[in-house]
């Protein structure tokens, strides 16, 4: 399949000659040969490859359709639907700027998310544990929490000295809310029997919070961290598109200004790898921390 797609890329003429056609075809041929070598290799059968076999067959078909509909026939209008060769060209020629943007996004995202997760977790434990904190903080959280963090943009941009600090605040807000809600409900729903046992064995309130309430609530906390991470992506890209002058969101905005749609697709692909990588990382941490749980959901 891959070899066929490679030959299609190389030998079917396009409407206009594109500079990376040879590279695309070459990559497709190389993948096809690599798969053939691994599949026919007598020394070892790869189970992962067999499980993914339908995807491995479908992908080159997809590429062929994409090429066919774009540069090979010109069915889809330019500049909105660039050929895969053009997207590939962005990666080969503009990779430095893409990498720089991805790094800038990470540098903006991570402190905001870390602050939001830490504050949300602390607030959640306090709300779940203390009746007084619950009484005062819970209504505020319920009333203000559902506001999308992006709705605070106008206020955040004049309250904070820089767009960077404003964006960090908004990312922290967006990720903190689900973490706080799910942590507090996790702590509040810990079975009374666990507390009875620990109290009976001589535990003080500090021990009950740290060694009973928090570990018992962790499965719920991780759901909050996951939702918070998703929310933080939204705020990150929005903030970069309208304020911050760096990052993948800014790159998208910039590319749109030049109607460089190949760059937009390239940035989206980088973003997809980056964000799903971060979520994968979070799930990997969770799988380690919650290894004691039976049958947890895999990402």
């Amino acid at each position: 399949m891959w070899i066929g797609a490679g030959l299609f890329a190389l030998y079917v003429p396009g409407v206009t000659p594109l500079p990376r056609t040879g590279l695309l075809g070459g990559i497709e041929l190389a993948i096809g040969i690599a798969i053939a070598v691994v599949a026919l290799a007598p020394w070892r059968r790869s189970e992962g490859l067999e499980q993914a076999d339908r995807w491995l067959a479908a992908l080159p078909i997809g590429f062929v359709i994409w090429q066919y509909a774009t540069n090979k026939t010109g069915l889809l209008p330019l500049p909105f639907f660039p050929a895969p060769e053009s997207v590939l060209e962005v990666f080969t020629d503009d990779w430095a700027k893409l990498a720089e943007s991805a790094l800038a996004s990470l540098v903006l995202l991570i402190p905001g998310y870390a602050i939001g997760a830490a504050l949300g977790f602390s607030l959640g434990v306090a709300i779940g544990w203390s009746r007084a904190v619950h009484y005062w903080a819970h209504p505020i959280l319920r009333f203000v929490g559902p506001l999308p963090a992006t709705a605070w943009l106008p206020i955040a941009f004049f309250c904070f000295p820089s767009t960077r600090s404003a964006s960090t605040f908004l990312i922290a807000l967006a990720s903190g809310f689900p973490v706080a809600v799910l942590t507090s409900s996790g702590v509040a729903s810990v079975a009374r029997a666990y507390y009875d046992i620990a109290r009976n064995l001589g535990a003080d309130p500090r021990f009950l919070v740290r060694k009973v309430a928090v570990p018992a609530a962790l499965p719920s906390v991780f759901v909050g961290l996951f939702m918070g991470l998703g929310a933080s992506f939204v705020v990150l890209v929005t903030a970069e598109m309208i304020g911050v002058k760096a990052g993948l969101g800014f790159y998208l905005q910039w590319a749109q200004g030049w109607a460089a749609y190949a760059n937009i697709y390239a940035a989206l692909i980088v973003m997809a790898f980056l964000f799903s990588g971060l979520i994968g990382l979070l799930f990997a941490v969770r799988d380690r921390v919650l290894a004691w749980q039976k049958g947890i959901v895999r990402w």
Partner: protein, 262 residues
């Protein structure tokens, strides 16, 4: 804290005083009476079974003795000192083992030592407790990997490592299969005979009470009050077909209102 542990190791079982205790739960508008004017005592090192129909309030009585709840009326004391809160000298084992699922068996057993801030490595103490209940091979297992019987053994070890002077058992074998229950009853008897602690066992199983306890206190339906009391003056190990055993079982079943089924 460390000295308290040593005290528990060297001192014998606690005596228990329950004096005109009544208790009501405030769960909706109306308070629900669960214990009605109960008075009895337990001698140091004695094994007493509290027998009664399910939901009659005997478990609540154990919670009061453990200090997890305070009685609405009357006094609960151990060694003539009023119980005002939980204390690791009086430890409760529940019907569900309720091991902490995020801790290994060993970490679960070390819970009491950690909670009281006992310093140092708990390895030797946990090894001893694991050996006591025969779970050496499962020290690093997680609770969901244990069978019901093994989980209840671990729950017992989690309590015994603290050298309690009063062991409170709330239908500890109620959810186990019959064979596992018989094995664990035998082991409980051995642990009590070795440990010298006072034991109060809540159960609704007449034979279990008669196999294990030196005295059986029978409660009526809710709100719990004492309707019958019997000394079980039979040597251990006891046998279900012993004439004395059969006679006592008859008396207790009559007291529980099941005489016509004999």
């Amino acid at each position: 804290m460390v000295s308290a542990t040593l005290d528990n190791e060297t001192r014998p079982g606690l005596s228990v005083q329950i004096s005109r205790v009544s208790h009501a739960y405030r769960t909706g508008a109306e308070p629900v009476d669960v214990i009605d004017n109960v008075t009895f005592g337990v001698d140091p090192g004695e094994f007493v079974a509290l027998l009664g129909p399910s939901g009659c309030g005997k478990s609540t009585l154990l919670r009061l003795v453990a200090g997890l709840d305070q009685p609405s009326e009357g006094k609960v004391g151990t060694d003539m000192v009023r119980v005002t809160g939980p204390d690791p000298a009086r430890l409760l084992v529940f019907q569900d083992p309720t091991l902490f699922p995020w801790r290994t068996v060993r970490q679960n057993i070390a819970l009491g030592l950690e909670a009281r801030g006992v310093a140092g490595d708990h390895r030797a103490a946990t090894d001893e407790a694991l050996a006591l209940v025969g779970l050496e091979a499962f020290a690093d297992a997680l609770p969901h990997e244990l069978s019901g019987g093994m989980a209840q053994r671990a729950a017992l070890a989690r309590v015994l490592i603290n050298h309690p002077r009063l062991l409170l058992l709330d239908e500890p074998f109620g959810k186990l299969d019959a064979l596992t229950r018989m094995t664990l009853q035998g082991e409980l008897l051995r642990l009590w005979q070795q440990g010298g602690f006072t034991t109060m066992l809540v159960t609704h199983d007449v034979e279990e009470a008669l196999l294990l306890a030196q005295r059986v206190i029978v409660f009526g339906p809710r709100p719990a009050s004492v309707v019958f009391e019997a000394e079980v003056d039979l040597p251990y190990p006891r046998h279900r077909d012993d004439p004395g055993f059969i006679a006592l079982r008859r008396d207790i079943l009559i007291a529980l209102g099941h005489g016509e089924e004999l």
